[in-house]
């Protein structure tokens, strides 16, 4: 049973993946607190470590081209265990959407709209996203190429504008931190932005693709998104040096340092707008995936009337997740990567192995 009949091209999938990863620029602060001036190495290591799992994701998509994650779990683990795992994924997708929604509201409140309460901003975001989610995957992903291009142009431009403040000695000393910090940093980057790509297992039946195309789109999307994340980290370290770990959003400070004559300054507003735009995209996609998962789990043919209620749950649930930003930072650095590993790496790997052993998917009888 396919709930959303809309189809997107594999090229749109590429831009969607890139946009999804670019929106994680906000998360580099969690990393720079741990690995400081070596964070650029850790982003690179995280990407390398995640590559085999990206291949696994592409292979699962190619093996089950007509089934989304919930249907795959049902087929591989049977109806009971499959449903239990499906419910666990529903919690995972809802949590991911709620965390990102809260992040967006807090970031907007902290940078642009100081007096507006964060839940009000979450509500506005949900109301706009709900329009796209109701229309389906086509509208959800439609603007991703525009978002990606705008983000790349702005990031590149900002790098040129701060090049005079870029110091190579800011990257020194290299490899002086304890080995545990590199391991922890690599784990964070591999699970939090990169591993979250597992959400695409809910979308791939809506992508027109051949086996080769799907891996290519995933890989190139990952390359564009990962390179943006890496170059952002490089730029921030090069400009901010050993103060990079002091800021909640290092990129915002880097943009604030842009000073070209008397007319071009306070460009951090550009970064704020782009990050809000990218996060809005990520939330809309995660929102769509959460609604789709509920509909698929409970076999509801039309999800349109569930969109608003799921959105309201995302807002209220998001407010219960972390009592303070400090608790959130500690949780993201210490426990979240371990919990996420189960959903992003362990279950997909086990599913792949079991599907191979059981020679799934079985060819349908005529």
């Amino acid at each position: 049973m396919r709930i959303d009949k809309g189809q997107i091209s594999s090229r749109l999938l590429l831009f969607s993946v890139a946009c999804f990863l670019q929106s994680s620029a906000l998360l580099t602060a969690f990393l720079t607190e741990i690995t400081r001036q070596d964070s650029w190495i850790v982003v690179l290591l995280g990407a390398i470590v995640y590559l085999p799992f990206l291949w696994l994701l592409g292979t699962l998509m190619a093996m089950f081209p007509e089934q989304n994650l919930i249907q795959i779990l049902d087929e591989v683990y049977g109806p009971v265990l499959g449903k239990i795992l499906g419910l666990a994924y529903l919690w995972f997708f809802l949590t991911l959407s709620s965390v990102n929604l809260t992040d967006l509201a807090d970031f907007t409140k902290g940078t642009i709209m100081f007096r507006t309460p964060a839940p009000a901003m979450s509500a506005v975001c949900i109301l706009v996203s709900a329009i796209a989610v109701r229309k389906g995957i086509k509208l959800v992903t439609k603007f991703s190429p525009l978002f990606v291009i705008v983000a790349i142009v702005t990031m590149t431009l900002s790098t040129f504008l701060v090049i005079n403040q870029f110091k190579l000695e800011n990257f020194l000393p290299i490899f002086t931190l304890p080995a545990k910090s590199y391991f922890q940093g690599t784990h964070i980057i591999a699970t939090i932005p990169f591993g979250e790509m597992v959400v695409y297992l809910m979308i791939h039946p809506n992508v027109k693709f051949s086996r080769r195309e799907i891996r290519k789109s995933l890989f190139w999307g990952f390359a564009v998104g990962g390179l943006t994340l890496w170059s952002t980290t490089l730029r921030d370290i090069g400009v901010l040096g050993n103060t990079v770990d002091l800021f909640t959003v290092p990129s915002l400070i880097t943009f604030r340092l842009v000073q070209v004559g008397p007319s071009i300054s306070r460009t951090e507003i550009l970064f704020a707008i782009i990050l809000i735009m990218l996060l809005f995209y990520k939330i809309t996609l995660l929102y769509y995936v959460a609604v789709l998962t509920i509909s698929q789990l409970f076999k509801i043919r039309s999800y349109n009337h569930l969109v608003l209620v799921v959105g309201s749950l995302m807002i209220t649930y998001g407010l219960t997740l972390y009592p303070s930003p400090q608790k959130q930072a500690a949780s993201v650095q210490e426990t979240v990567p371990v919990i996420w590993t189960v959903f992003e790496i362990l279950i997909p790997t086990l599913t792949f192995i079991l599907a191979k052993i059981r020679k799934l998917p079985k060819a349908k009888e005529a």
Binding site: A123, I300, V309, S312, I315, Y322, K327, T335, V338
Partner: protein, 69 residues
């Protein structure tokens, strides 16, 4: 509080009648369950009741198993 109840009443009115008309009982049940959870959370948050965080709770379990950083 009045604003929260009004907001929830509006979106319940927007969605509940089309679902009832479609006679999709499963959809009605899922809608009611999600609606009740969301409204309860909203009221509790408004009343400043401390709601335990699932992520922090899971984190505590992992810490007791020495599975965290």
């Amino acid at each position: 509080m009045g604003l929260i109840i009004a907001a929830y009443a509006i979106f319940a009115l927007v969605d509940i009648f089309p679902i009832i008309r479609s006679r999709s009982w499963r959809c009605i049940l899922v809608f009611i369950v999600l609606f009740v959870i969301s409204l309860t959370l909203a009221i509790l948050l408004k009343l400043k009741v401390k709601i335990p965080s699932i992520l922090l709770f899971l984190g505590d379990i992992l810490k007791s198993w020495h599975l965290t950083y």
